[in-house]
Symmetry: C2
Subunit: 468 residues, 2 copies
């Protein structure tokens, strides 16, 4: 297995093709400045030699750096056609890892240029990402691929065949789903390092607990087989792999060909993978991050049984209906649970059942609190789910957190959006943050919560079968 220590935690970083713009090498410089990278950084650009950019001196060539100043990771942002020649210098300097940002290789049918790049890398034992990719976002070592990324580290490892989506998924996780990333890798054309290499790395990376993949294609059969093997190993280690595979339709397949230069593969093959490997397949970016949030905040549910709390008959039926659509169960309450409810619920407008519709009584915080705990106490319930459509007041927030801290089962929130309102939005952000801080995932739609709970159960079932 490749030792990626120097890639993820480089002693020094170089940017070849640095400039003072927000594209090319300048883009990466701005990204590193944005996240607050504070390690040694070397900038290269013969045209700007001797100048300073963001307080760093610009050198003409990497060969100007003395031997006692090692550089572990270089970002190459120069025109495609001179990439092999510059990589030769990088090799002479003894750099072990490179991200080739430059595009214009096999995705534009320049296969020969790609081959010569690989040849130089092999000659010097360089391992490289790309070409045609953004490389690495590693919060812990303050490597970034976007100027708005932050240094908070979390459990999500992402590998993406799209730099844009690598940014977008990690930002979504961090800023909307309370789920930060450990390592984010944009792999581009995968001429040298491919996603299997990084999946293998995640096997032993303690920082990474759940993995998300955005995949357009797999290059060849051998890679495919290795891929299935490592995904299964990860599953069995309790590190779920969430795979978002795109490109089943004709136009998407063609777009993939010109994006990362590979074949997309048939839908039937992909649909068979979860059973073999434990992988979780999702169909869009939101579902990937929602499910990652589920794995981040929840332990695997003991079973598919939910206790549901809602305000309003229709709302409780919508929640139940969608949960059942995704193979979850809403069992009847035990007699002892009903008796407990009768002690504090008013008779009018409240029906003591699962789903529990609190109606107007749900506005009384003590009733809400007791209802969560009573559902939680039912012997048939393993996960309590509640939905909310408005009024995320501090009192309500406090009630939920207090309940969570006294529950034996896990708690899941679905926070719907009904009416756009800035005031409501602000309140909801505070609510979400408080829930995340207390280990409660907040889903943005019932369907996404249902899909996530379904897949988490399927993952547990996969593990149980294997352990028998």
């Amino acid at each position: 297995m490749t030792d990626f220590e120097k890639l993820f935690f480089p002693r020094a970083v170089g940017i070849i093709g640095a400039n003072n713009q927000d594209y090319g090498g300048g883009y990466f410089l701005n990204s590193l400045m944005g996240i607050g990278y504070d390690g040694p950084l070397y900038l290269f650009n013969p045209r700007l030699k001797g100048q300073e950019l963001k307080g760093y001196k610009v050198h003409g060539s990497i060969l100007e750096i003395p031997d006692d100043q090692p550089i572990d990771y270089v970002i190459l942002a120069v025109p495609a056609k001179i990439c092999p020649q510059i990589l030769e210098e990088v090799g002479q300097k003894g750099v072990p890892f490179v991200t080739v940002f430059s595009s214009g290789f096999s995705e534009l049918n320049n296969k020969e240029l790609e081959d010569s790049l690989l040849k130089v890398a092999r000659k010097h034992n360089i391992r490289f990402l790309g070409p045609n990719c953004l490389g690495l976002y590693v919060p812990k070592s303050k490597l970034a691929i976007n100027r708005y990324q932050q240094a908070n580290s979390g459990p999500l490892g992402l590998i993406c065949q799209s730099g844009g989506l690598a940014i977008y998924l990690s930002q979504m996780g961090a800023f909307s789903y309370g789920t930060y990333s450990s390592k984010v890798i944009s792999i581009g054309n995968q001429v040298d390092l491919n996603f299997v290499d990084f999946l293998k790395y995640f096997l032993t990376d303690d920082d990474t607990k759940v993995i998300g993949l955005y995949l357009e294609n797999i290059k060849d059969k051998k890679t495919g087989q290795e891929f299935l093997k490592v995904v299964k190993e990860l599953s069995l280690k309790g590190k779920p792999v969430i795979i978002w595979k795109v490109g089943y339709g004709e136009s998407a397949k063609e777009a993939i060909m010109s994006h990362t230069g590979g074949l997309a593969g048939s839908e039937a093959i992909w649909k068979a993978i979860p059973k073999q490997t434990g992988a979780c397949l999702v169909e869009n970016s939101y579902d990937l991050v929602s499910l990652a949030m589920g794995f981040n905040y929840l332990s695997y549910p003991k079973n598919r049984n939910l206790g549901i709390l809602s305000l309003g008959g229709g709302a409780s039926i919508e929640l139940t209906d969608l949960m059942e659509k995704f193979n979850l169960k809403v069992p009847q309450l035990a007699e002892e649970t009903k008796e407990k409810f009768k002690e504090f619920l008013p008779e009018v407008n409240t029906i003591i059942r699962n789903p529990l519709d609190l109606g107007g009584s749900g506005t009384m915080m003590e009733v809400y609190y007791k209802s969560l705990l009573t559902l939680d106490s039912d012997p048939n319930v393993s996960t309590v789910v509640f939905n909310r459509a408005w009024n995320y007041s501090p009192e309500y927030t406090e009630t939920i957190v207090r309940a969570k801290n006294n529950m034996r089962n896990q708690l899941v929130c679905v926070a719907l959006k009904i009416a756009d309102s800035v005031a409501e939005y602000k309140q909801k952000l505070r609510f979400k943050t408080a829930l995340f801080n207390n280990g409660i995932p907040v889903f943005e739609s019932i369907e996404r919560a249902a899909k996530a709970l379904d897949q988490m159960n399927t993952f547990r079932e996969f593990l149980e079968k294997r352990k028998k």
Copy 2:
């Protein structure tokens, strides 16, 4: 067909069981005050007789109101067991329409009480909604079922077997999807008036262009047959009926039994309805309102061909992938279109194809503008779809609106949420409002846009087949 003129535009309204709280009759009083109801209003409550509530005198009984002061619509909010007796007085007064808010009838197995209610109604030719419902929200006549509802009227007619969802769907339409309601009807137990009566009304109601139904069950076979007939008539008149049917799973079915007291019906039967009638089936509240927004802002697409504009390879593939999953097409560009693009697009990082990935060039507003118009000019494209993940600046907003006003095809926006941010949210609200004002629907996820465009095409195809 029932003449509902006096129900929707009553000369005077009465609330029986009025109080100064926010429940029971007081809830309705607050709702009418909230929307600014300014017609004649009579309040009744023997216990508060002679007092004033919100400036209105409280009477003991409706029989105290002289014959020359007709009341067309009464809301009955008294305990279930005295409902028949009070309805008798309402009948003597000659009131044609009543909403029975009170619950505690067949949904709690009190079938006899329900029967006696119906008997009184028949005796006096009263038509009533409910029991166990909220009745009517009619912006044009300022009838409301929630204190936050507004008097803006729009094309969406809603009929719901849940008062909570009647509020929630109409608020969602108005405040998140730029789609106001014409008439919203919460029908409850449907002992007298049922949803078929209102569907028939919508046939000739010029204010209503698209209809949404939240349905838990259909009472009997005869109603079912009438239902299919009127839905088909509405479709053929160009008024699409969006049906959100819940309760295919066991627990949802049971919850329905105790909510509105009826049987839910099998999934297979419901799945067959669209082909017979042109109805659009949806599976959750968001999809209902999203599709209603589609019908509100777009004419039926000429065909399933989309022109797609996106920034970033991965983002353009996600958009294409999901559109294809929902039976939409992303055809190749005509040669003439490619030539037009070559005139203004930079060669680097932009691939001239459909989906069009503008990459970094997409930040140049003139390029964005020209790209929309060029996609629009392609002979194979009938709908142009673009997505956006952040930066809803005023310049960008202006660019979209300007493009729309110069396009021959329709324009559809998907505005994604990546990172929670109050500043971004405020900007996005201004963006959405501007687009709604210019006839552009704004979907909140690609999947919802894809589902809506798919169903709008299916609806057009239904009409085309029938017209042959």
